[in-house]
Assembly symmetry: C2
Homo-oligomer: 873 residues x 2
Amino acid sequence: MKQYVYLFKESDGKNKALFGGKGANLAEMTNLGMPVPQGFTITTEACTQYYVDGRKINDEIMAQIEKKLAELEAMTGKKLGDMQNPLLVSVRSGARVSMPGMMDTILNLGLNDEVVEVMARLTNNPRFAYDSYRRFIQMFSDVVMQQEKSKYERILDKVKAEKGVQFDKDLTAEDLKGIVKMFKDLYLKAQGEEFPQDPKVQLIEAVKAVFRSWDNDRANVYRRMHDIPYEWGTAVNVQSMVFGNLGETSGTGVAFSRNPATGENVLYGEYLMNAQGEDVVAGIRTPLPISTLAEQNPEVYKQFADIAKKLEQHNKDMQDMEFTIENGKLYMLQTRNGKRTAKAALKVAVDLVKEGMITEKEAIMMIDPKQLDALLHPQFEAESLKKGVVIAEALPASPGAACGKIAFTAERAKEMAATEKVVLVRLETSPEDIEGMAVSQGVLTARGGMTSHAAVVARGMGTACVAGCSAIKFAEDEKSFTLAGKTYVEGDEISFDGSTGKVYDGLIKTEPAKISGEFATIMEWADKYRALKVRTNADNPKDAKNAFNFGAEGVGLCRTEHMFFEADRIPAVREMIVSSTVEERKKTLEKLLPMQREDFKGIYKAMEGNPVTIRFLDPPLHEFVPHDDADIKALAQEMGLTFERLKSTIADLHEFNPMMGHRGLRLAVTYPEIAEMQTQAVIEAAIAVNKECGYNIVPEIMIPLTCDWKEFKYVRDVVAAKADETIKANGANLTYKIGTMIEIPRAALTADEVAKYAEFFSFGTNDLTQMTYGFSRDDAGKFLDVYYTKKIFESDPFARLDQNGVGKLVEMAARLGKETRPDIKLGICGEHGGDPSSVEFCHKAGLTYVSCSPFRVPIARLAAAQANIKNPR
Amino acid sequence: MKQYVYLFKESDGKNKALFGGKGANLAEMTNLGMPVPQGFTITTEACTQYYVDGRKINDEIMAQIEKKLAELEAMTGKKLGDMQNPLLVSVRSGARVSMPGMMDTILNLGLNDEVVEVMARLTNNPRFAYDSYRRFIQMFSDVVMQQEKSKYERILDKVKAEKGVQFDKDLTAEDLKGIVKMFKDLYLKAQGEEFPQDPKVQLIEAVKAVFRSWDNDRANVYRRMHDIPYEWGTAVNVQSMVFGNLGETSGTGVAFSRNPATGENVLYGEYLMNAQGEDVVAGIRTPLPISTLAEQNPEVYKQFADIAKKLEQHNKDMQDMEFTIENGKLYMLQTRNGKRTAKAALKVAVDLVKEGMITEKEAIMMIDPKQLDALLHPQFEAESLKKGVVIAEALPASPGAACGKIAFTAERAKEMAATEKVVLVRLETSPEDIEGMAVSQGVLTARGGMTSHAAVVARGMGTACVAGCSAIKFAEDEKSFTLAGKTYVEGDEISFDGSTGKVYDGLIKTEPAKISGEFATIMEWADKYRALKVRTNADNPKDAKNAFNFGAEGVGLCRTEHMFFEADRIPAVREMIVSSTVEERKKTLEKLLPMQREDFKGIYKAMEGNPVTIRFLDPPLHEFVPHDDADIKALAQEMGLTFERLKSTIADLHEFNPMMGHRGLRLAVTYPEIAEMQTQAVIEAAIAVNKECGYNIVPEIMIPLTCDWKEFKYVRDVVAAKADETIKANGANLTYKIGTMIEIPRAALTADEVAKYAEFFSFGTNDLTQMTYGFSRDDAGKFLDVYYTKKIFESDPFARLDQNGVGKLVEMAARLGKETRPDIKLGICGEHGGDPSSVEFCHKAGLTYVSCSPFRVPIARLAAAQANIKNPR
């Protein structure tokens, strides 16, 4: 029979898949002889079974829980619901990887109307007993019964106001007793039945609630963002309670073994005396820095610091720990590898190597490449910052500069972010706000500390956050606030820096960051260990320069159409489109030629001689013309055409499915003269820059949308003829390559034939994903939400390369291409090029390089190193 | 060194690939000791080399031509350009398969101003000599120099009018001498140089012209229609001339060993005395039936009849022969397996089996399945025909009834055919008319016999044709004609029957044909030898019944959306679409349920217990609603909605790429209640019909557009639950299957996973082709013409399954599907299901059945038999 429930001391501290991160670490700490309140873990397999059984805990698992509970009772000498020595427990979720704020915790379970009296008597502290009971009712109502949390909060606030006290801890036992009564009445009203008095019923309901919470919306969103499979499930940890709210010699806190914002090697954290865990995290009372504990209770502080060091050495990583002091005695409630800012992650990794604790490769593996994004986000421009007026200073909770228009709710943030830069300003954030936070430039909260929800989640996302800005005074309806004497409403502009905690009035321009210090060290190591080259997608010299500074080793995709859209060229482009003869068309193309040549020269120069892949005109021509009558009229006048003529030309361009229409090399087949003009520009620019700078640029001409070798060969021949002619006409010597995108399934299926003529392939995984799935990205939005809700898709195939389907085509094309042309260059230039899991796939598929947006270049470099460390080539 | 030129007696009569059909047959006849004017064949490889060399005949081939010419001169004792005994030759194309009317022929080559005099002297027949010379100049100008043919015709007509004669043969030697002068002047004017006098120059130019003609537009169109690869090339046959225009004891003719219209076993053909070949084929003079030759010259007739029989037995097929009688002596100019009507093809094949000449399998292999189409085309409805007024009777040149509006040019036929049924009425047709003929219901010509261009091409196409209707009097501008006292202009309606030759005024309704006689025999044999099952695509009982009568063994695709569009349902469908809640939607679906149930009952009954595959709703919902404001307003009023509400609902449904949008099972994921309604209808109808008719129908529910096993499983589970519930509610016993379309590349790539849940696959090769190629059928029309012109595509991938790309996915999916589920049913239901080459592919890929439109069922049955004979399973 399968074992679903284990005491901490029976569990395997290495098996996070089965026990979850929290359960495994509790087992580990128990085995290291640390002061851990004992308990048991219900495995992730029990969770999976719960869902298999149709959201029921089956008899077998139920029996095992009872058995382990009995063993725990025997170990502690306490019994659940006992009138002499009652056992109280916490029930906490613990998935394989930490999902902060996603899962729910219940403390003080086991209390009921009678046990609370026993606890009051045993502790000789009725205030503590009733405080614990009211907390339990509150959490149980919220987490287990999904009742409205705020109604309980309002009762608490009302009593505090009546009693004229500011903090919960200032309420008396009698006050709390009254509150318990009111809570129970509210519970009865909301639930239609009494608050459950049987502690075993409480326990099972709580376990179920944890299981259930694995499937709540926030968890699903978080998993999709972090590629966590739904199948994993969560474990449940049932741990005997120790109490931080027993009085002023009790307390509770969270601390990191190093500073999670900077990586500095000092104990870093916060605690509150006479409090339970949630008080610290929730940010309602402002906690004390952990250093204060060294003065208040040097013995406990030293013991904790020793444990922290020991855990760090044991786990070879910075630790994030929860502890409780019960009547002066220290208990460790959990430890885990700490979440940290990107900056801290780099410093910790480099420091651990310096301290001899880990190797360079281990350091590389420690860093989540996606997190680097935070360091690559905009910083304030120095000039703009000089004029900035600081209007407040608060906790620097997640680094990066942010500016934008104010939104007060996650919903509004989502709406506004569609068209403008938004910052989310909230009293405090809650898990419901996650999506709104994700679309915002940054998050600013009036309450909460460095470990508040806003701070933790923002760091995880790599979004700027300034937290606990108490100077902000919200209006009652939370639709405006005053700060530094000014009232701010939705849409007003504000800026802040999550690295300094400073808040500024108005908009301060931001600029990208640079790579230096530990970041540079890690990137250097990554370059040492990676096999994949990293290029960038850049359509102009500025982006190319940027990417070059971020370490790009070439341009993998330069989209020439973006140049066609520019205001000074679009008239010539439109003239070309309405041309009715080849001669007319050639004449207008001559106008575009010098502009294109200058574009390419700029990009070649920015890349300092590195290879540049230029993709020829791709979008359907109707994208370049207006579609409503007023605009057509205006344009006709401008072009000296009749409205009817222009309207009919535009109507002829209409397509039912433009994605699958007259675009890509199909344009070059119909209008070879366009490809010829582009060829001439590419070649002449290379000749000029080689001459001017002494480079040896080998331009790579990329033909998009191939589906058949014959069409590719046709265009290739046109391009090669023009290129050779141009080289000869310039009396120059130049090597060039002609290759194709592989972005249509048929090109992948027949890659052996295409490779006879194509010198390189670049996988356009955006289009390839669309064609392989048979849905267009523009339209899929309408139904994909339902697919996520119904668990049909767990991740967005446009963000994360679908390895089962699209990946099969990529592997097939890579293999077939190499069979025909063993030295074929293989790259990827879809948006997947910067996604770490997709980079790993590309490494394994034997690609030569990935190409991604400039800001993702460092991410791709690191991901490529990790891929090669995991699967050396 | 490769041999590019062979004397007929050196060639291999079996190697049509190298010598072309004509060359191989000339070799064969030579070897059989038949009277063949000797000559040599320039191989198809020489043609290919000509294109490789940039449309030049290289020195090597040139030398070989000279050498073989010398050998021919030695054999015949005549010399090209000789003043004593000049050799004249014909130059004719000869591709691997016959391409009638596509390639060009030149006769009398070798004549010049001097040789013509020698010929006049030698034959003592100046009239003959000048007639031959004027013909040669005319053909050379047209075929080699591409000058306008009609200018030469006009000179001829003018002289005939001046001289008051009706036929060419009535012109005197002097007349012809004058014509030659005028022709030469015209040539000089048109060409800017004198007509070439050097016979070797004439020969090489003629050979080049034949090579060139392989690449003319008509040849390309014909190849595309008949799947003939461009790479094959054409051979050139240079044959010493014999003359049918030497006087009244000379003549020329074409004949079939059996009747090519009916298959009857009698010599069948036409000839003209004192004429050259073109006169018979061109239809300018009306030739005599071959039976007349038996009276005029019984000896020659008997010799010819014997040769015909011998050739038929040698080639085991009906022969189509050209012959010339020169001064009473018979010469065979060519033979080939004769083109024939579908009816004749069946009769000949069955007769040859009866005669013991071939086996049943050989008989099956003799018939082009595509040709059966002609027999399945409409015939006149008996009732409608009773009222028909016969206005003329002419040659029944290609069977099948036709009716429609009159078009006088191929261009107008193409334009008009876009919106209505068209018949093409012409004085006579020429190769330029091919595309216009292809889109017409039938072709009616005023001139020409059974072997005229119109007749031959129409039979090849399976298009109805009545030829040589001399009662038709065209107006001078050929924009109207009078017949039976009435004037007909473009757009007037006319009907005719290509099997009887009768022409009728007005529109006579047509109806489909039935399978009987030889057709039934061949179908019986086909069924005996095939392994693939044949089903039909039918959306209503009428089509299903039709297909059942044509031998369909089930329905492979019943598209339920066609039922949704019907006038009595579309209101309910639209109500469903604008429903804002699941409850509302369910209510409207209840209205559709009984209608759907009746639909399915009708189809089940038509199929008499055979399996029926019902595909659930596939198109995006916006297809069911109007899109312009006026229609939306009207509908809003009808539905009792505000215009704004309806307009906004419709706007929400808009998609950028509907082909890749919210359709197929994506609708069932979003609105499971639609799939539930359809399931209930499918199941209840099956239960009712099983009860009523004692059948054991196993309905097959087909879920369209799967791209992932999880989405399929989701819908499958919804459908299975509803099906089981329905069966239970009806207290019935019913088996059903749930499967999916494979029409998205990813479904094929992951077919092993999909097959875990799908009991059958049906390849939707229309969509699969679109997604695999990355172009939509609706939009590809705009650029595919250029692809054909530039030889990038040689056939339409929507008509003929692309075996290299799409086929690879089909094979992969079939293999993966069987790995998971060895007994999985595999079918195809795209339009390829009725295309013979695609049927062969499906056979080889191991599919269970093909499904095609009702009219293609017999074609698929025959093609399936041929596939299994070629590659037995």
